[in-house]
């Protein structure tokens, strides 16, 4: 296919930018970002307490994020790839390098973290006393550093170090917020699953070792083509498992709705918006960059898991009325959409259709970016609402749009984006995913010819349910009458929080109307990952046409808005009764009831009714009713697994006799065994 002119021109522009001088600046800037986040900020906060020190630390966090944006943008738009070799300071090869894929995710981290930090400045100040606030900021900064290291790593050790730091620091951030038995339980599950995932990720790195003899990304990449297919399959599966656990693919999502709600809102925003994306990054790095695709069934496996994740994720989200848990489940759904794109891309790759693969990959990467924007926006919004009302239970909110219009409007932007409505960023990436599925129809005489177009139905179902879910969120939480005293007396949040919200909101609308800004660099990034592909025309098309459609809609709105309308306040019709109270409104639980009723088989709630006294069914003194959902995974998958592990541990306990002679025997046996192994290896 012939490339459109603008892309050719963009490519010519990059060639002269390769001069070394720029490279030095970019390298220095990147090193400064790492140094500030990793060393300076924690140091400043440890050494000095007080306003000035904290102000300096916050300034450093925001400043280094802005600089990170700049570095990432240079690497993404101009072909600069700076690298830093820190192996001299570490016991293992620790190299960082920013190629285009890393640059995209670095951009994601820094553009999202900046508004979150702005928001956190006033959020932390209102919620934590001095000492805890310092800890918060120190770990906040380290958390950002760990994620930057993950996406910028160019050796396996650097990647794994960042990966581990990321888990531990986020756990610390959750623990600072508060410490109860339930929180510890949830945190334990989070750490357990993250480490199981990290083990799988490490395994997939080490499986390369026999062929690449080094964990340098360049060596891995070079060795992958010559590897036997069994090793490739093993690596693909362990990587999918490891990154799937981090991303929250069903059934590995168990930690997600537990860990995200208990973190402070800005941290939830980072975890949901950015940390999940590092898993997407890792999967793309392994699946596309290292392995260069997989066998056909691998693509279908990803597609299937993603479809299940998407549909179930949004169904669970609808059933929640705790706003933060709802958002966590909706992250599961969006990860499903991202992996739908990745799976489609893998299927195209194994059918040797690079153009379709590029399209689906661009869709997935753009959705990752978009989700980072709108999900952090919504988590920050949840933080703002709970700040104003002291509740994140949808059934206790209401009427907040009147009381906090600026925050409310930002949340509305987030809801529209996540529901995939046109002129907001979620639509662009869903549209591209749809087009990726539709392009599957061109794979004549394959199963994909029918399966991929049918996935349009799955994504449409997800989209429809997401729209329903976020009508529920915005309509119940911010519209109508307040349902509690907290909501009744809510006041607009301080400027810092509003500013953070609107920085993200502007990003959502900007990409939604002018998607070309990101689609161009994404196209060249996808071309670097998928060899032999051109620029899919769809990406150019949507960038050209969406502004026109937006102009028609906005124009119509403006024309109608110009007419002056007479208005009179009148109470809502109450069927002739004296007046409506807030209890007559629909709550979130009732709103979602029809959908829960239709999909009752998915939820399979455990219902418990207790009557007191039990022997008089018709004259109970009190009845309590309890309904617990989404426990079927625990019952079907996790509990048997945990039980077998525990019983195995019990059996192994017999080894521990407490007798020193027996331990000496163990040591002796171990030495003999090792000697035997050494003998036979030669």
């Amino acid at each position: 296919m012939t490339l459109p002119e603008e892309y050719l021109r963009a490519r010519e522009m990059v060639s002269y930018e390769k001069c070394p001088m720029h490279l030095v600046y970019v390298k220095t800037a990147f090193a400064l970002v790492l140094g500030a986040l990793g060393v300076l900020v924690p140091l400043v906060l440890m050494v000095r307490r007080g306003r000035a020190a904290r102000g300096l630390a916050i300034g450093l966090v925001i400043g280094s994020n802005l600089m990170g944006c700049f570095v990432a943008a240079l690497c993404l738009w101009r072909d600069i790839d700076p690298n830093l070799d820190l192996s001299n300071f570490t016991p293992f090869p620790f190299k960082l390098g920013i190629d285009k894929l890393s640059a995209l995710f670095l951009l994601l981290i820094c553009t999202v973290a900046t508004p979150v930090a702005v928001f956190a400045t006033s959020y932390f100040a209102r919620h934590y006393a001095e000492a805890r606030r310092n800890w918060m900021w120190a770990f906040f900064s380290l958390f950002l550093l760990s994620m930057i290291v993950v996406v910028a790593a160019s050796t396996g050790f650097a990647f794994l170090a960042g990966w581990e730091l990321m888990t531990l620091v986020s756990a610390a951030l959750i623990l600072i917020e508060g410490d109860t038995t339930e929180r510890r339980h949830n945190l334990f599950i989070y750490l357990l699953m993250m480490h199981a995932g990290a083990a799988a990720v490490a395994a997939s790195f080490f499986l390369f070792l026999p062929y690449s003899h080094s964990l340098d990304f360049a060596a891995i990449r070079a060795s992958a083509a010559a590897m036997p297919s069994a090793a490739r399959v093993a690596i693909f599966l362990t990587a999918f498992l490891g990154f799937g656990a981090k991303a929250g693919l069903i059934p590995l999502h168990l930690w997600l709705p537990r860990a995200h709600p208990i973190a402070p809102s800005p941290v939830s925003a980072l975890m949901s918006g950015i940390m999940l994306k590092t898993a997407v990054y890792g999967f793309v790095r392994f699946g596309f960059d290292f392995l260069g695709g997989t066998s056909l069934w691998g693509g279908y496996l990803v597609l299937l898991v993603a479809a299940v994740t998407g549909v179930l994720g949004i169904l669970y989200a609808i059933a929640e009325h705790d706003l933060k848990r709802l958002l966590a489940y909706s992250s599961v759904e969006n990860i499903g959409i991202i992996f739908l794109g990745l799976g489609t891309s893998l299927i195209f790759l194994s059918h040797h259709a690079p153009l379709g693969a590029t399209l689906a990959l661009i869709a997935a990467l753009l959705h990752a970016y978009n989700h980072a924007l709108f999900k952090s926006l919504l988590f920050l919004g949840a933080g703002a609402l709970s700040d104003a009302t002291h509740s994140v239970d949808l059934n206790e909110l209401g009427g907040l749009q009147r009381r906090m219009p600026v925050t409310g409007a930002a949340v509305l932007v987030g809801c529209c984006s996540i529901a995939g409505l046109p002129f907001f960023n979620g639509f662009i990436s869903e549209w591209l995913t749809f087009r990726g599925f539709l392009a599957g129809a061109t794979l004549i005489n394959t199963k994909a010819q029918v399966i991929l177009p049918l996935m349009v139905g799955i994504l449409a179902l997800i989209g429809g349910l997401a729209a329903a879910c976020f009508v529920n969120v915005f309509g119940i939480a911010l519209l109508g009458r307040p349902r509690s005293a907290g909501a009744e007396h809510a006041q607009e949040v301080p400027l810092g929080m509003r500013a953070g919200l609107w920085m993200l909101g502007a990003g959502c609308v900007g990409i939604g109307i002018f998607p070309g800004i990101l689609l161009r660099p994404l196209a060249s990034l996808a071309q670097a990952l998928v060899p032999g592909a051109g620029v899919p025309e769809e990406t150019i098309n949507i960038a050209r046409e969406i502004p026109y459609a937006a102009a028609i809609v906005l124009g119509t709105v403006a024309v109608i808005g110009m007419f002056k309308r007479k208005e009179r306040l009148a109470r809502t019709w109450a069927c002739g009764l004296p007046g409506l109270s807030s209890r007559m409104q629909y709550t979130s639980t009732v709103f979602s009831k029809p959908i829960r009723f239709v999909f009752a088989r998915v939820y399979r709630p455990d219902r418990k009714i207790e009557q007191i006294p039990a022997d008089q069914p018709y004259f109970p003194a009190s009845i309590s009713y309890q309904s617990v959902r989404t426990t079927s995974y625990e019952r079907a998958i996790y509990r048997p697994f945990v039980e077998s592990v525990v019983s195995l541990a019990h059996r192994l306990r017999r080894l521990q006799t407490g007798n020193i002679q027996v331990y000496l025997l163990y040591i002796f046996l171990a030495i003999v065994l090792l000697l035997a192994v050494l003998r036979f290896q030669r």
Binding site: G399, Q401, R402, C416, L421, P422, W431, F434, R435, L438, A441, V450, P453, L454, V456, G457, I458, A460, L461, G463, G464, A467, A468, V471, G475, I476, L478, L479, G480, R481, N541, R544, E545, Y548, A549, I552, V553, T556, V557, I560, G561, R565, K566, E567, R568, L569, A570, T572, W573, A574, M584, Q585, Y586, V590, F591, K593, P594, I595, F597, V598
Partner: protein, 313 residues
């Protein structure tokens, strides 16, 4: 000239919409042996509402006032996609079928928010039911359109219509029959007609769309009424354009356009007869049977997509 034709088509869809509604209402009345109101009645309704004042609940926010405007704007934008007399449209770009469906969702999203902003039980009731119906209707809607798109190897609605025009009516494929049935069922659900929703009901237990708009009055109500009329007209026009486009012109001369418009009026008249017949003959479905209804539509549209494999292209 092409642009003038395209704008004309959009205007016919927008301005003719109340008339289609009036015709359906009259035909329904006659089928039920009532006299019925004049076919121009929806116009006078809209005009009357525009001249009145808006009654706004004191507890509501700006969303209550903005929602009808966004709904109307989204629906107006939808009309720019559908060819009615000439096989082209203002928006004839590739992939616009997804934007078309999602514009519908945009309008619905805001109308549901407006309903919840009223703060009464009816608004929530309507919005909650609408959320169920529309979230299940989206999949068959897109799959039906996708089936036709695969068949014609075009992804813009105008392009699909252009392709269908070249085909022989008697050479019609299974895919078309399946997709048409599915899309017709979806159209009934999306526009809130029987058997999914009763547009003339004022009994709260059966209301979906009417429940949502109960609190609106004056110009806002006028916009909503007009928008839902346009939605009905646009869905009928979409079915006509995709499945029976024959009679459309491919030249841009005035006389051929006039002839095509004449054919279009006949076709839309036939669809109106069909619609009023269905509405009179069929009882409204129980709320929880609607998912089954849409499930059938989804199955049909999925079959349509599967059958594209065996149809020669």
């Amino acid at each position: 000239m092409k642009i003038a034709t395209d704008i004309l088509q959009a205007l016919v869809l927008i301005l003719g919409a109340p008339l289609v509604r009036g015709i359906v209402a009259l035909l329904k009345a006659r089928l039920q042996r009532r006299r019925g109101a004049s076919i121009w009645r929806p116009y006078s309704d809209v005009l009357k509402l525009f001249s009145k004042e808006d009654l706004v609940p004191p507890t509501s926010s700006l969303i209550f006032r903005v929602a009808p405007v966004v709904l109307f704007a989204a629906v107006v934008c939808m009309t720019a996609f559908i060819p009615i007399v000439h096989a082209s449209a203002l928006f004839g770009w590739r992939g616009d079928l997804f934007l078309f469906v999602y514009l519908l969702a945009l309008g619905r999203f805001f109308l549901s928010l407006g309903a919840l902003d009223g703060g009464s039980a009816f608004g929530g009731m309507g919005a909650s039911r609408e959320a169920l119906v529309s979230s299940l209707a989206e999949a068959p809607f897109l799959l039906g359109l996708v089936a036709v798109a695969i068949l014609s190897a075009r992804v813009d609605i105008a392009g699909m219509v252009g392709w269908t025009l070249q085909q022989n009516f008697f050479n019609i494929s299974t895919v078309h029959i399946l997709a048409f049935t599915a899309l017709a069922m979806v159209a009934l659900a999306e526009t809130g007609r029987m058997p999914v929703d009763n547009p003339t009901t004022h009994l709260e237990l059966t209301m979906i769309h009417e429940g949502m708009v109960l609190e609106y009055s004056g110009p806002s109500a006028a916009l909503i009424e007009w928008a839902s009329a346009i939605k009905l007209h646009a869905m009928l026009a979409l079915l006509i354009a995709l499945f029976v486009p024959w009679g459309m012109t491919e030249t841009n001369s005035w006389d051929s356009l006039a002839l095509a418009l004449f054919f279009y009026c006949i076709k839309i008249g036939l669809f109106a007869v069909l619609l009023s017949f269905i509405e009179s003959a069929v009882a409204k479905l129980r709320m929880y049977l609607v998912p089954d209804f849409l499930g059938v539509a989804a199955a049909l549209s999925a079959l349509a997509v599967i059958f594209t494999m065996w149809v020669k292209r």
